[in-house]
C-alpha cells in the first residue's frame, strides 16, 4: 500500500525534526519532509487527467523542495550564527511530547471522522500530528530560523490534510496559498537579517524590549 509507507515516512521525518539539535539538520529534514509530501501528492494525481493537479505538484516541488531550503541555507551561511537551535525542551522530552501530540491527533480524528475508513483516518492523524508538531517547534525553539521552519512544517501538515482528506483545495486557492507562503518566508527571512544586525543574535526569547 502506497500512501501508508509514504505517510509514515513523513511522520518519522517530522519526529526527527522535533528532536534535531542543529539548524542545518533541521533544514535538511524539512527538505526531506517536503519531498515526501511531493511524492504523496504526485502519487495521488497519477492516472488523473487533470493538469491542475500536476501543476500543484510541480509548484510544491519547486517551492518547498528547492527554493525555500536554498533560501534558508543562504541565510544561515550569511549571518554566521552558531549551529545550535537553542532548545527550550531537550530532545528526549521533545520526542515524548511529539508522541503525545500524535496520540492527541489520533483521538481528535476519531472525534471528527467517527468510524470512517482507516486510510482516511490515518491520513488525518498524520497531517494533524505534523501540524501540531510545527506549532510545538515554533513554541519551544529559540532561534528565529527554527520558528520559520516550524511555520513551514505547519503549512506542510495543512497541505497534506487538504490533499489527502478533502481531495485538495480548489486550484486557484492552492496556487494563491503557495504564493502567500513563499512571500511570508521571504519577509521573515528579511526580518531575520534585521534582527541579527540590530541585536547581534537571533534568539527570539531575548527579544524583550516591549512589555506590558
Amino acid at each position: 500500500m502506497y500512501p501508508g509507507i509514504l505517510l509514515f515516512t513523513i511522520l518519522i521525518v517530522t519526529f526527527a525534526m522535533a528532536t534535531a539539535k542543529r539548524i542545518t539538520a533541521l533544514i535538511s529534514a524539512f527538505r526531506l519532509q517536503s519531498f515526501f509530501l511531493f511524492l504523496v501528492t504526485f502519487y495521488m494525481s497519477l492516472g488523473s487527467q487533470n493538469v491542475e493537479l500536476y501543476v500543484v505538484c510541480a509548484m510544491l516541488f519547486l517551492l518547498k523542495v528547492i527554493l525555500v531550503p536554498v533560501f534558508l541555507r543562504s541565510i544561515v551561511r550569511k549571518i554566521k550564527i552558531e549551529e545550535g537551535l537553542g532548545l527550550l525542551v531537550n530532545p528526549l522530552l521533545s520526542l515524548l511530547i511529539a508522541l503525545f501530540l500524535t496520540y492527541l491527533a489520533y483521538k481528535f480524528s476519531g472525534l471528527i471522522l467517527g468510524s470512517k475508513s482507516s486510510t482516511l483516518s490515518s491520513n488525518f492523524v498524520v497531517s494533524l500530528a505534523v501540524t501540531m508538531l510545527g506549532v510545538f517547534m515554533m513554541a519551544c525553539r529559540m532561534k528565529a530560523i527554527s520558528q520559520i521552519i516550524g511555520l513551514l512544517v505547519m503549512e506542510n501538515g495543512l497541505f497534506l490534510l487538504a490533499a489527502t482528506v478533502s481531495e485538495g483545495m480548489p486550484f486557484f486557492v492552492e496556487i494563491a496559498i503557495f504564493f502567500d507562503v513563499f512571500v511570508c518566508v521571504v519577509i521573515l527571512g528579511i526580518f531575520v537579517y534585521r534582527i541579527n544586525r540590530l541585536f547581534t543574535h537571533i534568539d527570539v526569547n531575548k527579544l524583550s524590549e516591549l512589555k506590558g
Binding site: I112, E155, L158, M169, C184, F191, F199, L207, E209, G212
Partner: protein, 486 residues
Amino acid sequence: MLVFLILLIPFILALVSWFINKVSLLSAVNILGHFFLGCLGLTLAYGLANTRIPLDMHNFFYVDALSGFFIFVISIINFAAALYSKEYIEKDIEDGHILVKKAKVYYSLFNLFSFTMFFVTVVNNLGFVWVGIEMTTLASAFLVGFYNDKPSVEAAWKYIIICSVGIALALLGTILFYYAAHIQVGLKSLNWTDMLAIADKLDPKVLKIAFLFILVGYGTKAGIVPMHTWLPDAHSQALTPVSALLSGVLLKTAIYAILRFAIIVNKSCGSGFVTGLLLFFGLLSLAVSAAFILVQKDIKRLLAYSSIEHIGIICFGLGIFGPLGVYGALLHVFNHAMTKSLMFFGAGSIVKKYKTHNMHIIRGVLQALPFTGFFVILGVFALAGSVPFSIFMSEMMIVTAAFLKGSYTASVLFLLFIAIIFAALIHHFSKIIFGRKPENMAKSNESVSSKIAILFLFILICIMCFKVPHFLDRLLNPAVAIVIGA
C-alpha cells in the same frame, strides 16, 4: 464595475508611488486617490442600501450589504489616514528619520495594505478570504517595522509570527469546512454563497470543530484575548497613520471573516454555539484590556489595549445576537473605527511633539498643541463612551439588547468593565492634556491636512451622536439580516 475600480485604485496608487520623487506631490496624489476611493465606497454602499441586491460577478466577487458596510468603513479610514500621512511623512523627512526613497516605500505599502483589506471584503471564495487576510499581514509587516530600530523590528517579528500561526489555524478550519462540504455533501466549491445554500446538509459536529479553529485563527488577527499578544506591540510601533488603519479597520476585516463563517455555522446548527463563544471571548477581552489600561504608561499602547476592549464589545454584541445586538455591534465597528483613528492621529501628533510615548512625561498638551489637545480630550470622552458621542449610542444598543435577552450577569460584567475603562481613560488623558507644558517647548500648530483629517473624523462622530443617518440605517438593516440569517 465599481468593485473592480475599488480594487484597482489602490493597486495603481501603489505602483505610481514608486515613480514620484517629490514628497509633496506623492502625498497629494495619494490623498486625491483615496478621496476618490472614499467616494466610490460611498456610492457602492449607497447603491447597496437602495437596491439591497448583492453584486455577484463571475462567482468570484460577491458584495452584499455586509461587505458594502465594511468597504464603506475601510474607505473612510483610508482617506483619513492618507490625509494625516502628509504631515507625518513630511515631518519625518524633515527631521531626518527617513529618506525620500523610504517615503515612496511607505506609500506603496500603504496602498498595497488597503488593497488587501478591500480584497478580503469583496471575494466570495472562503479560500481567497484566507489568502487576503494573510496578505494584509504581509503588506503591513514592513509598515510596523518601518523605522528599523530594535523595538519596531521586534514588534514586526512578533506580528508576523503570531498572526501567521493564527492564520494557519484558520486555514485548518477552512479545510475542515471544505471537507464537510466537499467530501460529505459533494460541493465542489469554497464559495460562501454555495456553502450557505447547502448549510443545513453539513455535519454540525465537523462545523463546530472547524469554527473553533476559525475563531482562534482569525481571532488572533482580530486581537481577541488571549491571542492578542502581538497587538499592543504592533500598534505602538507602527507609523501613526498605519496604527489607525490597523486598529480602525484591519481588526474589523478579521471580524468580517469570522462573521462569514459564523453565518454558515448558525444556519447549520443554530446560533447557540457561536454566540456562546463570542460572548465568552468578548467578556474576556474586556476584562484583560481593562486591567492593562489601568496600569499603562505608553500612550499608543494604551490606545492599542483600548482597541482590544472595543473588539471585545463588538464580540459581546455579536454574542448577544438578535437584531438589536448585531445592529449595535456593526454600528460599533463604524463608531470605533472613527473614534480610534481620531485618537491615534492626536496621539501621533503628541508623540511627535514631545518625542516620547511615556504619559508620565507628557504634560500640558492643550498649551503646546491647542488644536490637537482640544480634539483629543473630546475624543477620549467619545472613546470611553460618554454621552452624547456615537460610541455611547452603540454601547447602549448592545446593553439594551443584553438586558432584553435576559443575560443579566453578562450585562452587569460588561457595564463594570466599561466603567473601569472609562475612569482609567479619563484619568490618564486628563493628566497629559491639562497642566503646564514644559518650559522650553514652544506652542505650535498642526498643518492643514492633519487638521482636516481630525475634523473630518470628528464630524462623522458627531453626525452619529443622536441618530443613525437614514442611509446608514438602510445599509445596516440588510447587513444585520444577513448576519442573523433572517
